[in-house]
C-alpha cells in the first residue's frame, strides 16, 4: 500500500472519528448519569438526519443552518423521551429497560419507514463534491466541515460538563445519586436535562452527516452499534473515553477499509469491542472500581 493511500485513510479515519465522537458522547452522557443504555440512540440520529434533509429539500436550508433548528427539536425529543418513557423505565429491572429502548428503536424505525419510505435520501450541495488538497491527501469539504463542527461542539460540551453548575450537578448525580439527592439536587431535573443534552447533540450530528451519507429508516441501527463499541472501548460514562474510542474506531474502520473488503472492514469495530471487553472491560480510560 502506498503512503498516499495510508495517509488518506488516516485523515479520513480521524475525521470520521470526530463525528462518531459527537454521536457517542450523547450515549455515554445518558449512561453516566442514569445508568441506562439507550438502544434507540441511533434512531434519534436518523430523525435529525431526516430533519436536515427535509429542511434542505423543501425549504432549501443549508445543513449548517439546519443545525440551529434540529438541535432544539432533538432536545425536545430528549425531554419527551425522559418524561414519556425513561422516567418509568428507571423503575423496572435492567432487562426490561433494554426491552423498552429496543422496542422504541423498532418503533421509530418502522414509523420512519411508513412516513418517509425506505428510499435513500441525500443532501447534495455544490460543495459536496469539492475537495481540498493537503499534499497527497484530498479531504472532502462536507467531511471536513462535519469533523470541525464536531470538535467545536465536543469542546463546548466538555466546558458545560466541567465548568458550569449544571455540569457539576450532572457529575454529582453520576457519582452518587443518593448523595446528590441529599445535597438538594433535583434528580428528576438533572435526568431530564441530561437526556435533552444527550439527544440534543444528535441534532448537530444529523444535519452534518446527511450531506455525506444517505439517510434511510435503518441508518440509525448501524450508528447505535458503533456508538456502543465506542463508549465501551473508551469506558462507559467517560467523556474523554468516548472521544478516544471514537478516534480508534474511526481509524480502525478506515484503515481496515483500505486493506480488506468492505464487509471485513465492517466487522473490525466489533472485533475491537470484543478485545477491549475481554482485556479491559471497564474501558480504556476508566479505572476499575474496587
Amino acid at each position: 500500500m502506498s503512503l498516499a493511500i495510508f495517509l488518506q485513510a488516516l485523515i479520513g479515519g480521524l475525521i470520521n472519528g470526530a463525528t462518531y465522537g459527537l454521536i457517542a458522547v450523547g450515549l455515554t452522557l445518558v449512561f453516566g448519569v442514569m445508568r441506562i443504555i439507550n438502544f434507540a440512540h441511533g434512531e434519534f440520529l436518523m430523525i435529525a438526519m431526516y430533519l436536515g434533509y427535509f429542511l434542505w429539500a423543501l425549504a432549501g436550508v443549508d445543513p449548517l443552518v439546519a443545525i440551529l433548528a434540529a438541535t432544539p427539536v432533538l432536545m425536545l425529543c430528549g425531554i419527551g423521551l425522559y418524561g414519556g418513557i425513561v422516567r418509568f423505565a428507571l423503575k423496572v429491572p435492567e432487562i426490561n429497560q433494554m426491552a423498552v429502548t429496543l422496542g422504541l428503536s423498532l418503533l421509530l424505525q418502522h414509523l420512519a419507514l411508513m412516513l418517509f419510505t425506505g428510499d435513500n435520501q441525500l443532501v447534495t450541495l455544490p460543495r459536496s463534491t469539492a475537495g481540498i488538497a493537503l499534499g497527497p491527501v484530498v479531504v472532502q469539504v462536507p467531511q471536513l466541515l462535519a469533523g470541525c463542527a464536531s470538535l467545536v461542539l465536543l469542546v463546548v460540551l466538555y466546558l458545560v460538563i466541567h465548568r458550569t453548575d449544571f455540569g457539576l450537578t450532572m457529575r454529582a448525580v453520576s457519582q452518587s445519586r443518593d448523595g446528590a439527592s441529599l445535597s438538594g439536587i433535583s434528580i428528576g431535573k438533572v435526568y431530564r436535562w441530561s437526556m435533552a443534552v444527550g439527544i440534543g447533540t444528535l441534532g448537530v450530528a444529523g444535519p452534518l452527516m446527511v450531506s455525506m451519507l444517505y439517510v434511510n429508516p435503518h441508518v440509525g441501527a448501524l450508528f447505535t452499534l458503533k456508538a456502543f463499541v465506542i463508549v465501551i472501548v473508551g469506558g462507559l460514562g467517560s467523556f474523554g473515553g468516548a472521544l478516544l474510542g471514537a478516534m480508534i474506531v474511526g481509524l480502525a474502520e478506515s484503515l481496515a477499509g483500505a486493506w480488506f473488503s468492505a464487509s471485513v472492514a465492517a466487522s473490525v469495530p466489533f472485533l475491537l469491542l470484543i478485545l477491549v471487553l475481554l482485556m479491559r472491560p471497564q474501558g480504556l480510560l476508566v479505572r476499575r472500581r474496587a
Binding site: A89, V100, G103, L107, G118, L236, A266, F270, I274, M279
Partner: protein, 326 residues
C-alpha cells in the same frame, strides 16, 4: 406438581395447534413459525430469564446451525443425520469459546449482552464476505434425488411434526433442568450472584452449562430452519433482528416461567402475520409489537406469564386462608 401441570398443558396445547393446522397449508406455516420462534425463545430464556444472562447474539447459534445444514448439503450433499448433529456440535463449540472468554473475564449485565452482540455481528460480516457460504446472497438448498432422506417434503405437516417434537423435547428438558439442582443454582445466580457464590455455587461452570444447553437448542432450531425454508442468508439467520425477537417474545410472554416465551411467540407470530395481511402499510406489524413491547415491559415487568402465575398463587393463598378459617 403444579409445575408439571403447566408442562403438560403447554405440550397439549401445541399438539392441539398442530392438529388444527393440518387442514390448511397457510395455517401449518404459521404453526411451524410459531413453534420455531417459541422454541428459540424458550431456549434463550433458559439463559436470560432463569440464569440472568441476557444474550443479544443468539442469532449466532441459529446461524451456525442453519449454515451447517445448508453448507453440508449444497457443497457435499450430506443428509440431515450428519448435518443436524454437526449443527448442534458446532453451536455448542462456539458457545464454549464465547462463554469461556466472557465468564473468564467476569462480564455481566449489559457487558455480557453487548459482547454476545459483537460476536454475532462479527459472524454476520465474516459470513457475508465468505465465498464458500454464498456471501450475502446466501445458500439455496436445491431439491434432492431422495427427498425424504433430506427432509424435503411437498406438504408442510411433516415439518410441523418435527418442530412440535423439538418444542416438546425442549420444554421437557427445560422443565427437568429447572427442577434439578442445576435449575435452583441458576436462579440463585440470577437473583444474587455474590450470595450464591458465597454458598459454594460454582458460578462459572453453571453459567457455562446454561449457555451450552441454550446454544445447542438454538443450533438445532437453525438446522430445522434451513431444511424448512431451503434458503439461508446472513440477514435471516445471523441478523440482530432475530436475536432481538427472542427477547421480544420472552419479555411479552414473561420470563419467570418456562412457558412464558412460548406464549409470547404464540400470541405475536400469528397476530403479526395477520396484521401484515390486513394492511398495505409497510411494517405495521412491527409498529404493533414494538408498542406492545414498550407498554408491557413498563406495565407488566414480569410479562403475561408472571401476571398469570402471580394471580394463581394469590388464589391458592386465598383458598388456603379460607380453608383455615372454616
Amino acid at each position: 406438581m403444579r409445575d408439571s401441570k403447566s408442562l403438560f398443558i403447554s405440550i397439549a396445547l401445541a399438539t392441539l395447534g398442530f392438529l388444527a393446522a393440518l387442514s390448511d397449508r397457510y395455517l401449518m406455516d404459521i404453526f411451524v413459525l410459531t413453534c420455531f420462534y417459541g422454541t428459540l425463545a424458550v431456549s434463550w430464556n433458559l439463559m436470560a430469564g432463569m440464569t440472568g444472562l441476557v444474550s443479544l447474539g443468539h442469532a449466532l447459534f441459529v446461524g451456525i446451525g442453519a449454515y451447517s445444514v445448508a453448507w453440508g448439503y449444497s457443497v457435499h450433499g450430506w443428509p440431515p443425520y450428519v448435518t443436524w448433529p454437526m449443527a448442534v456440535l458446532l453451536s455448542v463449540a462456539a458457545a464454549a469459546v464465547i462463554g469461556a472468554l466472557c465468564f473468564r473475564y467476569g462480564l455481566r449485565g449489559y457487558f455480557f449482552s453487548i459482547a454476545t452482540l459483537a460476536f454475532s455481528e462479527v459472524a454476520f460480516y465474516v459470513v457475508s464476505a465468505t465465498n464458500a457460504l454464498g456471501r450475502s446472497d446466501g445458500l439455496m438448498l436445491l431439491s434432492a434425488d431422495d427427498p425424504v432422506l433430506h427432509l424435503q417434503f411437498f406438504e408442510k405437516w411433516p415439518y410441523g411434526l418435527i418442530i412440535l417434537v423439538i418444542l416438546a423435547a425442549t420444554l421437557w428438558l427445560g422443565h427437568a433442568l429447572l427442577r434439578s439442582r442445576t435449575g435452583y443454582y441458576w436462579r440463585a445466580l440470577r437473583d444474587n450472584e455474590e450470595a450464591a457464590e458465597t454458598l459454594g455455587v460454582n458460578a462459572r461452570a453453571l453459567k457455562m452449562r446454561a449457555f451450552l444447553i441454550s446454544a445447542a437448542i438454538s443450533g438445532l432450531c437453525g438446522a430445522f430452519y434451513a431444511n424448512y425454508v431451503a434458503f439461508v442468508d446472513p440477514r435471516s439467520v445471523l441478523g440482530v433482528d432475530l436475536s432481538i425477537q427472542m427477547l421480544v417474545f420472552s419479555i411479552i410472554g414473561g420470563m419467570s416461567q418456562l412457558w412464558g416465551p412460548l406464549l409470547g411467540a404464540a400470541l405475536l407470530v400469528p397476530v403479526s402475520d395477520f396484521l401484515r395481511g390486513l394492511t398495505a402499510i409497510q411494517g405495521s406489524n412491527v409498529i404493533f409489537y414494538a408498542t406492545l413491547l414498550i407498554v408491557l415491559a413498563l406495565a407488566l415487568p414480569q410479562g403475561i406469564a408472571g401476571w398469570v402465575a402471580r394471580r394463581g398463587r394469590r388464589r391458592a393463598a386465598a383458598s388456603l386462608a379460607q380453608g383455615e378459617r372454616a
